[in-house]
Symmetry: C2
Subunit: 228 residues, 2 copies
């Protein structure tokens, strides 16, 4: 079975692929060769049918009673995500978050190489953060064009994000990973992925509130002394 | 209509609520009072029906031809997420990512207050990062218990994440926001939200590959000179 060329797979499944990769790599490092969807499901606390559906988007299916051959599955996921090739990226904004992203070594494993960083603040220009020199923002479009950089990472405050996106588009950047908390206007053919740390916090907040409700309800029925 | 007490709403909808909040707050700052679901949908590039369904989980419905009263909608979202109250949290691991999270002022707006940070590295203990002192990791359980801290943020490498989670659970922490790239084993009643920056990158990588395919296919059919 080959992956369907005209589908990108459901986005929630794509979002989960890195989690499968982490797990499969840790199996691989411990010398394991085969794994069943049931075992993956247990480890990740999801349903086995979900595992099989998610992994099928890479074109790989497990064999009944045998499961997946781990090296082939890792390879299929990396190929599907394009992470076996390196994509060059520019990062804009080297404040707290931008610096953390520059220092995050995991991105190389995911095929992302940040080749230059930019900032509008002159006091930051010239700094070297994790191998990369910080350049003045006005050089971005020109350099992106000359270096054929396909991806841009935006880590500036909301109010500057659109002008940074415009400069990226002008430089021919085709994919923008946006950490600023606002949506961007870009022309057709440029893809944007909005990353909002508050999204995960929202889910956790709601889960916590729900747990507390259950606990309080249950608590009224518990015998005294159980709380010590 | 009141929110249904026994539902937490669909998780994708909950994930999108912060995005609505950002937008509504920016409307509110510019003096606007009413907004239609169509206008919100245009700004966020999603379908109006999706907007109405997402916002309905907060218990608020827009009025036909009038839309939503913005202050009430902001209030409903914040109440639904529990962000009108502050939740105290401990953060563990003050490397690149942990430091960035400590320095991120947006969390206060989202009702999250990091009250202490911890690290296993003695050279980091005693540092002050964004108002918070870094304490030795062995003090975590005891302090969490005494201060009744409900939430923990894990920003340590994968190999240390489970032991940090164990210490949090021992200290009575009920909700864990996990930035380490591995899943955690926790007892029933403790909720975990895994945050993997690679997930967003996976989606963006797949979208970029898809765009390039379309561009290459279209490119073969374009008249010469269109690329200048």
């Amino acid at each position: 079975m080959t992956p369907e060329k005209n589908k990108i797979g459901s986005l929630p499944a794509v979002r989960r692929l890195p989690t499968y990769l982490h797990l499969l790599r840790s199996f691989s490092e411990s010398g394991r060769e085969m794994v069943s969807s049931t075992h993956i499901a247990e480890k990740l606390k999801i349903e086995p049918i979900q595992v099989r559906k998610d992994l099928a988007i890479t074109g790989i299916e497990g064999k009944p009673k045998v499961g997946y051959y781990i090296p082939a599955l890792i390879d299929a996921i990396e190929t599907f995500l394009g992470w076996n090739n390196t994509t060059d990226a520019f990062l804009v904004g080297v404040g707290n978050l931008g610096s953390a992203l520059l220092g995050y070594e995991g991105f190389r494993k995911h095929g992302l190489k940040i080749v230059a960083a930019f900032d509008a603040d002159d006091s930051r220009v010239g700094q070297v953060i994790g191998d990369v020199e910080v350049l003045p923002i006005h050089k971005l479009s020109d350099l992106a064009m000359r270096m054929h950089v396909p991806m841009g990472v935006i880590a500036v405050p909301a109010e500057s994000a659109q002008s940074v996106a415009d400069a990226m588009v002008l430089g021919g950047i085709q994919a923008i990973w946006n950490f600023a908390p606002r949506s961007l206007d870009v022309p057709d053919g440029v893809v944007v992925q909005n990353e909002d740390l508050a999204s995960g916090l929202a889910v956790l907040s709601v889960k916590l509130a729900r747990t507390r409700e259950i606990r309080e309800t249950a608590g009224t029925m518990l015998p005294a002394g159980n709380g010590g």
